[in-house]
């Protein structure tokens, strides 16, 4: 769902990408800093929240009964080619940014699995890519954030000068204020294509070993979530590095980025039309993958395969779907197999699963990545018994010192959240300073006890 608006406020029922939770809010768009300060001075009774492209799966970008600030209609993107940085408005999408930057040989250093998210949403969720084990999350690449805090004050937060406020905001899920713009350090690239190697692997252990040993910058494993028994966790390892020089075949006129270009093979690892056929499709896709291949791929092919079908989330039925994504420390790697097995046993019709390795955590109180393993599983929300099943997994993950990713979450309870993320005393102290009246609120925040 796009939320871009021009000027006029509008009452809208909003939902997340998974379409499971819905609530009404007053959506306002394209407000300048002054108008935002005025809005905050008015202290609307149900609070205020910024929304990006609505790509978070659950209730993070909703504020029931309150005000939701939609991103500006037009992106503002100001690259500094000499410094290798870009200053961009929070409403700029990653597709906007890539189109503007790639021709100059510059790349966003963190690319999530969709290009439709906004810079504001990326910062609020402290997003990670397939290179987290090497490059960290977006937090480590931010030079500064321009924030309107909960008192309507315009602030520039830099990681060195404003450490606590910066760390509370990056990963803070919009609860410290409204991000207006940010300056991001970029990664120089010599080609817009990647050298990719793909390996079909029959066992989860081997797949995880493959990820562990990978020397490439980007590494991810797609798992056949339906394979059982000895085949449990079989999948495809996808490893990639940027080419050191332009690919004469694909980019004879220099680097480029075309967001509309339809992606080439390999095809989607699942059928977007129905989750019920997940099994058939996962099997087919797995069997079709060659045992080992080496090829070059475009940025879209490698990073944004899921964007190939626009609005695939709508095809999954009226009750929507959810993604269970968690990270656990190295010594609890066995939980990856345990969770896959649990979903198997309960026939949850999981239709897509990916495993990644994470590098060290960055210390931001609400950031998700922590050193170890990360699993993400997509499944229909309506599966009977799924509620208690996930509650039970939450417990195990919390006990192991792991965390569930808030940008994907729509169901974690306040008590399990506290088990995972702690009592967040430091975060709350900084928030009280940035937003003493607790004006910044969201449905997710209410559910998790972060606001009222």
């Amino acid at each position: 769902m796009t939320t871009r608006l021009d000027g006029r406020p509008e009452e809208r029922v909003l939902t997340g990408w998974g379409r499971t939770t819905r609530s009404r809010a007053r959506v306002v768009g394209s407000l300048d800093g002054e108008a935002l300060a005025e809005l905050m001075a008015a202290q609307p009774p149900r609070g205020i929240l910024a929304r990006g492209a609505g790509r978070s799966y659950g209730d993070a970008a909703q504020n029931a009964g309150g005000i939701v600030v939609a991103p500006d209609a037009a992106p503002r993107i100001e690259p500094d080619l000499r410094a290798g940085t870009v200053r961009a408005s929070a409403g700029s999408t990653f597709a906007d940014l890539l189109s503007a930057l790639v021709p100059h040989g510059l790349l966003l250093p963190v690319l999530p699995g969709t290009r439709h998210l906004t810079l504001g949403g990326a910062i609020a969720a402290d997003v990670h890519g397939k290179n987290h084990h090497v490059d960290g999350s977006i937090s480590s690449w931010l030079e500064s954030i321009e924030l309107i805090d909960g008192q309507g004050r315009a602030r520039i937060l830099s990681p060195l000068l404003d450490g606590p406020a910066f760390r509370a905001t990056v990963g803070g899920m919009g609860l410290t204020g409204i991000i207006r713009a940010a300056t991001v350090r970029l990664m120089p690239i010599s080609s817009s294509r990647l050298q990719v190697s793909t390996h079909r692997v029959d066992h989860l252990d081997d797949l995880m070993a493959g990820l562990h040993q990978a020397t490439q910058r980007y590494a991810v494993a797609w798992i056949d979530a339906t394979a059982q028994g000895r085949a449990l966790g079989r999948g495809v390892l996808d490893l990639g590095d940027h080419l050191d020089a332009p690919d004469p075949l694909h980019e004879p006129d220099g680097l480029h980025y075309r967001p509309t270009q339809p992606p080439a093979a390999p095809p989607l690892p699942f059928n977007p039309a129905t989750a019920l056929t997940a099994r058939a499709f996962n099997t087919l896709w797995y069997r079709k993958a060659p045992r080992h291949t080496h090829r070059t791929a475009s940025l879209n092919d490698f990073f944004h395969r899921l964007d190939a079908v626009a609005h695939w989330n709508r095809a999954l039925g009226p009750r929507g779907f959810l993604q269970y994504q968690f990270a656990v420390p190295e010594d609890s790697a066995h939980l990856i197999a345990h969770v896959l097995q649990t979903f198997q046993n309960h026939r949850t019709a999981a239709f897509l699963a990916t495993v990644k390795r994470f590098g060290p955590a960055n210390g931001n109180p609400l950031s998700f990545p922590l050193r170890g393993w990360c699993l993400a599983v997509d499944m229909p929300a309506a599966a009977p018994g799924l509620g208690p099943l996930l509650d039970q997994l939450d417990r195990k993950i919390a006990e192991a010192g792991g965390q569930v990713y808030l940008a994907k979450d729509a169901r974690l309870s306040a008590s399990r959240f506290t088990d995972m993320y702690g009592d967040l005393k430091d975060w709350r102290t900084v928030r009280d300073e940035l937003d003493p009246r607790h004006l910044m609120r969201s449905d997710l925040g209410r559910r998790l006890g972060l606001c009222r």
Partner: protein, 249 residues
């Protein structure tokens, strides 16, 4: 707010000792931290009947006939936090013969089953609208379809409630709030104790299961329990008056 599995975190049951109301709560998928607020006249009795439910239970005084209290009541229960589900189950059934003897009791019945619901639900709806999400479950009855001479005051009160709830549902369109109207037939239970069951009678648990199922869909606006009552209601409306008059009960 309801979570991704449609699980409410705070529930308000009006008529907190209602057999059907408590059965509905028991039939719902519940998250570990669910809070149930029981509103009614007899606090101890409500607490006792809810003892086995896997929720944190609190009780609060509520009298459907005390119209002047309903606004404050709603303001108070919504003061702490949002309420995701409100079940309106207060109701009384008094034999028509008693009402014929004592018309004032008929007034009390109408006040409980109809007027009190109007004041309470309008007060509650103000809060639900403001919070931008939530579900209202209203217990109507097959008796709302057409007044029978055997219990036409009860029928009239339910017909009023049913019409009110339909209008309220329409007015809530686009507000993020949803209303589900429940029309059970004869439910064998406490309210109908001593009365011989009619054909197609049902039980509190079956009513509850039907409500829980309807709440998992995003589209259902009304449920008949059992489902076969829907066509029967149509027949009831079409029956010529000369015949309808003769229906004994």
């Amino acid at each position: 707010m309801n979570d991704a599995q449609g699980r409410p975190s705070r529930i308000l049951l009006l008529g907190g000792a209602s057999e059907i109301g408590l059965a509905i709560v028991a039939a719902l998928p519940l998250a570990p931290d669910t809070h149930l607020i029981l509103a009614g006249r007899n606090l101890a009795q409500m607490e006792e009947r809810a003892a086995t439910l896997p929720c944190t239970v609190t009780t609060t005084a509520y009298d459907a006939t005390a119209l002047e209290t309903h606004r404050d009541f709603a303001d108070t229960v919504f003061a702490d936090a949002d309420i995701d589900l409100v079940i309106s189950a207060a109701g009384i059934l008094i034999p028509q013969s008693e009402l014929d003897r004592d018309p004032q009791r008929a007034g009390e019945l109408v006040q409980t089953n109809f007027t009190g619901h109007v004041t309470t639900l309008l007060a509650v709806t103000r809060h639900l609208r403001n919070q931008g999400h939530g579900t209202l479950v209203v217990l109507s009855s097959i008796a709302a379809v057409r007044p029978r001479r055997a219990n036409f005051v009860y029928g009239a009160s339910k017909a009023g409630l049913d019409a009110f709830a339909q209008g309220l549902a329409d007015s809530l369109h686009g507000s993020g709030v949803r209303l589900l109207l429940v029309r059970p037939g004869f439910v064998t239970g406490r309210m109908t104790q001593g009365m011989p069951p009619t054909p197609l009678s049902t039980t509190p648990d079956r009513v509850a299961a039907a409500v829980a199922t309807a709440l998992t869909t995003t589209t259902a606006t009304a449920v008949w329990v059992p489902r076969a009552l829907a066509p029967i209601a149509l027949l009831m409306r079409l029956t010529p008056r000369v015949l309808w008059r003769r229906v004994k009960r």
